[in-house]
Amino acid sequence: MPIEALLFVLLVVLALAIAHMRDLFAAAMLFSIFSLLSAGMFTLMDAVDVAFTEAAVGAGISTVLILGTLALTSNEERNGPFRLTPLLVCLGLGATLIYGTRDLPVYGDPGAVVHHHVAPEYIEGSHNIHIPNVVTTVLASYRGYDTFGETTVVFTAGLGVLLLLGGAARRRDPEEEAAPQATSEVTS
């Protein structure tokens, strides 16, 4: 069993630790480690571009954003009651997925159908137009439209955050909070 399998164990332990941790700052730290580790694993799995992105996004931007949020909210998660239903839902989901994946190709199987249908043509095509990075070719040309969508997603999120946080901070005072204003919309 390759090293990636062992790293997976670490990853799951980290995820469980994040679930368990009540100190949100510590959870954020663990989350950053989680991202770095998964990025490392992507490299081992030959997905260098994915690793690149995950490192930049997960360990960089996401961590900064989570910290930025924590700066505004509480650092400490309150102790909630233990809930059984979510656990059962997740276990059920896990069982279903394990059932569903048991016949899928094993890790690194060169005979898997995904490697033989469209992928070779991409590699061939990329070679022919002299762009060595096949991922770039597929990303920007063959599936360039997806990437346009992706850029738009970023733009849309930017718009959303701008709309939500762009205005002045509105701290509602308690009186105003108490007043029900469920669906009223003010004229003029």
Partner: protein, 143 residues
């Protein structure tokens, strides 16, 4: 710990940041244009460039950073990025191809030009959006 020092007064940080930021930006450009040959591309480059601004903002304070790169620029840059990408597609349509059909841009190197153009679009959009996100979150925290 009682005496709070401003971050930018820490000489190592200040010098380190001043020294690093240009290199990070350079690295971002490298990633942007080397994306055809090695790992990387517009998105990664954008995030790295944004990281440079974030670092600058962290060390020298948000206000200083906003003087260098104002928020309104970022807002527009975000849009420009998408427009560059989409504009490439519109250009190919105007030249008689389908949307994003780069081959019509140039009889031989169409794919190259097209990819460079759209990657540039991605890079601009991501740089601006990511920096903007940092600005907005950090600004809220200041109150």
């Amino acid at each position: 710990m009682k005496q709070h020092m401003r971050m930018q007064d820490k000489i190592i940080l200040r010098l380190g940041a001043k020294f690093l930021v240009p290199f990070i930006l350079l690295f971002a450009f490298y990633v942007q244009f080397h994306g055809d040959f090695g790992p990387g591309g517009g998105f990664q480059a954008g995030v790295i460039a944004a990281a440079a601004f974030v670092l600058y903002g962290l060390i020298f304070g948000l206000d200083t950073a906003q003087k260098v790169v104002p928020k309104s620029w970022l807002e527009k840059g975000m849009a420009i990025g998408v427009l560059v990408y989409g504009g490439t597609g519109v250009a190919t349509m105007l030249l008689g191809g389908n949307f994003l059909e780069y081959d019509v841009l140039h009889h031989h190197n169409g794919q190259h030009y097209g990819i460079i153009a759209v990657e540039a679009g991605v890079g601009i959009a991501v740089t601006c959006t990511m920096t903007l996100l940092y600005y907005l979150f950090a600004e809220r925290g200041r109150r």
